[in-house]
C-alpha cells in the first residue's frame, strides 16, 4: 500500500475492505480486499462488469447494505470530514445511527442508475429535495424550499417553481436524473458517488448529464466516485481509474495510462472487446473467452486466470499482490511480479 505523504489529503481512503454476503447457497465475497483513495475534487472511475463488486464497494462506504445478510468483515473506510480532526472510520459507525445519517446525503451523496425507483412516487420532486436540505442544514422550511428551487434551476430544469410541485412520473428520464442530481448536490457534499448514472439514458441525454456533472464539479469542488461499465464515460469523466474483477482491484492508474498502455490482461481484453467509434477498419473484435465466474465458486488466486489469454503459470493460482509497476500504476498479475 502506498503511504500517504503529510500534505496529501484524501476525502476517502478505503483500506483492504472485505464485504461478504451470507446467503443460503454460501458466502459471496462481493468485495474482497479493495483499497482505493479519492482526493478532493478528483474523479475516480471504478470499472467492472456486473457482479464485480463495484456497487457493493459504494454501498459499503455509505453503510447502506442489508444488515442481516451482509457484513464488512475487514478493512477501514477512512472519511475526512474536513473538520481538522483525524479521519472517521465509517466501518465502525452504527449503520442506523445519527452519525452516519448526518453524513449520508449531506457530506457523501449518491445518485443511482434508475431514477424512477430511487425517487419516492408519492412526494413531489421539490418536497423530496427540500426534505434532504431541511434534514441536514439548519435553514428552516422556507430556506429549504428556496434551496430546492435553486438546485433545480442549477441542474438545468426549466421552470423550477412549477417543477417543484410535480411528481417523478411527470418528468422524463433525463429530467428525473437531473432532479436526483439536484437532490444529491443540494447539501454540497464533499463526495458524490454516482453508480451508473447515465446507463438508463439515451446518448444525447447522457451527454447533457455528463456535462452537467462536470460543470457542477468545477463549481462546487466535490470529489466523484464514478461507477460504470461504460469505458467511454470513464474516458471522458475520470482522472484516475480502478478496474475491478470479482471483488478485487486488478489495475489502478491515471486515465491515460489505462487507455493507452493497460497492463492487466483483463483491462487489455476489455479494451479490445468493444468496438471503438470511428474506427474505419472493420477488424474482428477480440472477445475475452468464457464468462464471468459464478460468485459462489470464484477461482483461487487470480480470478481471471481461467479466462486469461496470456500464458498461465502455477503462480496464478496463488494470492497475487497489487504491485506498483511504475509511479501511480498498480497491477495485480503474475506477469509483473
Amino acid at each position: 500500500m502506498s503511504t500517504v505523504s503529510s500534505n496529501q489529503r484524501y476525502i476517502v481512503q478505503v483500506e483492504d475492505l472485505k464485504t461478504y454476503f451470507y446467503t443460503l447457497d454460501g458466502v459471496v465475497r462481493a468485495v474482497d480486499g479493495v483499497s482505493l483513495q479519492i482526493k478532493p475534487g478528483e474523479t475516480l472511475g471504478l470499472v467492472g462488469e456486473s457482479g464485480s463488486g463495484k456497487s457493493v464497494t459504494a454501498l459499503s462506504i455509505l453503510r447502506l447494505l442489508p444488515v442481516r445478510t451482509s457484513r464488512i468483515v475487514q478493512g477501514k473506510i477512512l472519511f475526512d470530514r474536513g473538520d481538522g480532526r483525524p479521519p472517521l472510520d465509517l466501518t465502525t459507525v452504527d449503520p442506523n445511527g445519527d452519525l452516519i445519517r448526518s453524513i449520508r446525503g449531506n457530506e457523501i451523496a449518491m445518485i443511482f442508475q434508475e431514477p424512477l425507483t430511487s425517487l419516492s412516487p408519492v412526494h413531489t420532486v421539490g418536497e423530496q429535495i427540500a426534505e434532504a436540505v431541511e434534514l441536514h442544514q439548519k435553514i428552516g422550511k422556507k430556506g429549504a424550499r428556496k434551496r430546492a428551487i435553486e438546485m433545480l434551476e442549477q441542474v438545468g430544469i426549466a421552470m423550477p417553481e412549477q417543477r417543484f410541485h410535480e411528481y417523478p412520473h411527470q418528468l422524463s428520464g433525463g429530467m428525473r436524473q437531473r432532479a436526483m442530481i439536484a437532490m444529491a448536490l443540494s447539501c454540497h457534499p464533499s463526495l458524490l458517488i454516482a453508480d451508473e448514472p447515465t446507463t438508463a439514458l439515451d446518448v444525447t441525454i447522457q451527454a447533457q448529464i455528463l456535462e452537467l456533472m462536470k460543470s457542477l464539479q468545477d463549481e462546487l469542488g466535490m470529489a466523484i466516485l464514478m461507477i460504470t461499465h461504460n469505458l467511454g464515460v470513464i474516458a471522458e469523466m475520470a482522472d484516475r481509474v480502478d478496474v475491478m474483477y470479482m471483488g478485487k482491484l486488478v489495475e489502478s492508474s491515471d486515465v491515460r495510462t489505462i487507455f493507452h498502455c493497460p497492463l492487466h490482461p483483463y483491462t487489455v481484453g476489455l479494451l479490445h472487446s468493444i468496438p471503438h467509434l470511428g474506427r474505419r477498419v472493420k477488424e474482428r473484435l477480440t472477445p475475452i473467452p468464457g464468462t464471468v465466474p459464478d460468485p459462489f465458486s470464484v477461482p483461487k488466486g487470480c480470478a481471471f486466470y481461467p479466462r486469461c489469454p496470456v500464458q498461465k503459470k502455477s503462480a496464478c493460482e496463488e494470492d497475487i499482490p497489487l504491485v506498483e509497476v511504475e509511479p501511480g500504476h498498480k497491477v495485480r498479475c503474475t506477469l509483473y511480479l
Partner: protein, 336 residues
C-alpha cells in the same frame, strides 16, 4: 455487396399509429405515431443498422416487418421465390409460411426463453411446428444448430436458467436460425450483455451471416456497435428515418443535424480525443403530438423558417446517401 446484389426487403411509407384511449369508455383521444412513414431497403446478404434513441420507433419498425403487429399503412415488400410480395397485405394464414423466411432475435435473453422448456425444445420447436423434422432427425438438427452457435450439444437437455446471459443469447440465435431464414431482425441483441461477452456474440453474428448467407436488420442504440456490424446505417428520430447511408459515409460525413448531434454525444474511448459536443436542448417531443414541419426543428441549431412549416422530403443525395433535411445540401456537418 454493392449494386449487383438484389434487394431482399423494401419498405415503403410504413406507418403504425397506436390509439391513445382515455376515460371510462376508452374513447380514442389521439394517436401515438410510433412509425410515421418510413422507407428503406435492404440488399441480400447485407446488414442494415437501425439506430435511434428510445421511443423513436425502431423496435416497432422491426416488428412491423415481421408482421408481429399490423401496420396502419404502407408496404413491406419481401423477395420470395424471385418476386416481391407485399407482406403487409398477405392473408393471416400465410403468415406462418412467412416465418420460415424471417426471424427475430430479442434483446433480453432472460424473458425471451421459456423457463420450462429445455434447450432442445426451444430450438427444436420451430422445426416441429413447420413439420421439417421429427424424432432423431430433429435431435440431430438441433445438435447442429447448437454447435453452429458455439454451444455444447450435450447441454441440450438443460433449462435456460443453467446458462449465462451470453449463452442464452446464443440459444435465441440458434432458435432464429432453425428454419434457415433469409432475413433476421436482431433487436438490440447485445445490449443486455456484459462488455466482454458482447464481442463474442457480435463475432458470432458475423460468422453466421457468412456461413448461412443471412441478411440482418440490426436494431440498436449503441452507435459504436452499429458502426462495427453494419454495411449501411439508418438513423431514426420520432418515427421517421432522417438519414441512411453506408456506415463509412454516415459516420464520417453525416448530412442530417440529428445524426451529427448523436455522433458527437457518444463518449469516446480515448481520453485524449476531446469531442466538440453538440448538446441538444430539451427532450424528445411527445410522439402523440409531434412538432409541425421537420420534427427535429425545435432542437436543431440550424433550423430556419422553412423547417418549422414544411415537412422535409426523403431524398437521395446520390451514391445511396438518403436524407430528410431541407438544408442537406448547404450544411457542412462534422462526422467522426
Amino acid at each position: 455487396m454493392e449494386q449487383e446484389n438484389s434487394i431482399l426487403l423494401e419498405v415503403r411509407n410504413l406507418k403504425k399509429y397506436f390509439p391513445v384511449q382515455r376515460g371510462f369508455f376508452r374513447r380514442v383521444a389521439g394517436y401515438v405515431r410510433a412509425v410515421d412513414g418510413v422507407s428503406f431497403f435492404i440488399r441480400e446478404g447485407e446488414t442494415l443498422g437501425l439506430v435511434g434513441e428510445s421511443g423513436c420507433g425502431k423496435t416497432t419498425t422491426g416488428r412491423l416487418i415481421l408482421r408481429a403487429i399490423e401496420p396502419t399503412e404502407g408496404e413491406v415488400l419481401f423477395r420470395r421465390n424471385g418476386e416481391m410480395v407485399n407482406i403487409a397485405q398477405i392473408p393471416r394464414k400465410e403468415i406462418k409460411a412467412l416465418r420460415r423466411e424471417m426471424q427475430i432475435i430479442f434483446q433480453d435473453p432472460f424473458s425471451s426463453l421459456n423457463p420450462r422448456m429445455t434447450v432442445m425444445d426451444i430450438v427444436g420447436e420451430p422445426l416441429l411446428i413447420h413439420g421439417i423434422a421429427r424424432g432423431a432427425e430433429l435431435k440431430s438438427q438441433v445438435r447442429e444448430l447448437l454447435e453452429a452457435v458455439g454451444l455444447k450439444a450435450q447441454h441440450m437437455n438443460r433449462y435456460p436458467y443453467a446458462f449465462s446471459g451470453g449463452q442464452r443469447q446464443r440459444i435465441g440465435i440458434a432458435r432464429a436460425l432453425a428454419l434457415r431464414p433469409k432475413l433476421i431482425v436482431a433487436d438490440e441483441p447485445v445490449s443486455a450483455l456484459d462488455v466482454s461477452v458482447q464481442a463474442q456474440v457480435l463475432n458470432l453474428l458475423r460468422d453466421l451471416q457468412q456461413e448461412f448467407g443471412l441478411t440482418y436488420l440490426f436494431i440498436a442504440h449503441d452507435l459504436a456497435v452499429v458502426e462495427h456490424i453494419s454495411d449501411r446505417v439508418a438513423v431514426m428520430y420520432l418515427g421517421n428515418i432522417v438519414e441512411m447511408a453506408t456506415a463509412e459515409k454516415l459516420y464520417a460525413n453525416p448530412k442530417h443535424p440529428y445524426t451529427e448531434a448523436l455522433l458527437s454525444a457518444v463518449p469516446r474511448t480515448d481520453p485524449d480525443r476531446v469531442t466538440r459536443r453538440i448538446l441538444l436542448p430539451g427532450d424528445v417531443p411527445n410522439p402523440a403530438a409531434p412538432p409541425p414541419g421537420c420534427k427535429f426543428h425545435p432542437r436543431c441549431r440550424y433550423a430556419r423558417d422553412i423547417c418549422r412549416v414544411n415537412i422535409p422530403v426523403w431524398h437521395d443525395l446520390g451514391d445511396d446517401h438518403w436524407v430528410a433535411c431541407h438544408l442537406a445540401n448547404e450544411l457542412h456537418l462534422a462526422g467522426i
